[in-house]
């Protein structure tokens, strides 16, 4: 559990760097590091498939997409953020952490028994048999995403001009 807590602290730290870094490229790389740490946490929790997806897709593919966007929008990329954002951040974070700890201790007192029965079968059986309708939804979402990107980057016809 100690190692897991170290990983969780590193996850929050990488996310904070992703938010507060001035350079967008550094933010994107910090986001990739956060996904990598989250993937390792998933592995250690006993969820290898979610970990593999998190590392390969989120840390790999999404980072590439972010970097492409940053490269394509380089000239307008330096938007001036207000200066108080970084100064006020530690204060807000400490206040939130205190509230968070207080609320979570309340949850701990409220929920005495959360033990469920151990699951039977394998991940594949659960995914393909119990949640097979989710896969239809996933396919629909992927198709919708492809068509949306195609529509957004459609070339203008000549008679439109």
């Amino acid at each position: 559990m100690t190692f897991q807590i170290i990983l969780l602290v590193a996850l929050v730290a990488a996310s904070a760097v992703a938010i507060l870094a001035k350079d967008l490229l550094k933010s994107a790389i910090a986001l990739a590091v956060a996904s990598l740490i989250l993937g390792i946490i998933f592995f250690r929790m006993g969820a290898p498939y979610a970990g593999v997806f998190e590392i390969s897709v989120v840390a790999g593919l999404i980072t590439v997409l972010f970097m492409l966007t940053i490269a394509l929008t380089k000239q307008g990329g330096d938007v001036r953020e207000s200066k108080t954002v970084k100064i006020v951040f530690p204060l807000f974070f400490i206040v939130f952490a205190l509230i968070d700890i207080f609320v979570m201790r309340g949850i701990l007192a409220r929920i005495p028994a959360l033990e469920g029965a151990a699951e039977a079968g394998t991940f594949g059986e659960v995914l393909w048999k119990e949640r097979s309708f989710d896969l239809v939804g996933q396919l629909a979402v992927i198709l919708a995403g492809v068509f949306a990107v195609l529509a957004l980057f459609r070339k203008r016809d000549h008679h439109d001009n």
Binding site: Q4, I5, L8, V9, V12, S15, I19, L24, S27, L31, A34, L38, F42, M45, G46, A47, A50, F53, E54, V57, V58, I62, L65, F66, T69, L72, T73, Q75, G77, V79, E81, S82, F92, F96, A97, D100, I101, M104, R105, I107, L108, I111, L114, E115, E119, G121, V126, L127, E130, R131, D134, G137, Q138, V141, I142, G145, A148, V149, L152, F153
Partner: protein, 103 residues
């Protein structure tokens, strides 16, 4: 014992959620705002998986997280395409320039 560890996960997931929300409320760069959304999503998937782990139904939680990741990729692709098109129109990534859009 396992409930204690579950609460630790929830605590850190709450911190992730706070970070993303803070970014969404205070930043002005469109790409930064989207990074905030991603961080909120990471917090949510951590909650899903840790709850499944605490209830000993890790396979179900895993399939939900995989579904979420697939949807996240589509969301990122579409949103970044929208951001590039907005940049072409406005020549800026500032969220305040969107208030000029009319009609």
């Amino acid at each position: 014992m396992i409930i204690n560890e579950w609460v630790v996960y929830l605590l850190f997931a709450g911190a992730m959620f706070f970070l993303g929300l803070y970014c969404l409320l205070t930043m002005r760069n469109l790409i930064k705002l989207f990074i905030g959304i991603e961080i909120v999503g990471k917090g949510v998937s951590l909650v899903l998986l840790s709850t499944g782990w605490a209830r000993r139904s890790i396979f179900l939680a895993q399939s939900l997280v995989v579904t979420y990741i697939v949807i996240e990729v589509c969301l990122v692709a579409v949103a970044l395409a929208v951001i590039i098109n907005l940049y072409r129109v406005n020549q800026s990534l500032d969220i305040r320039s969107l208030t000029r859009l009319k009609g």
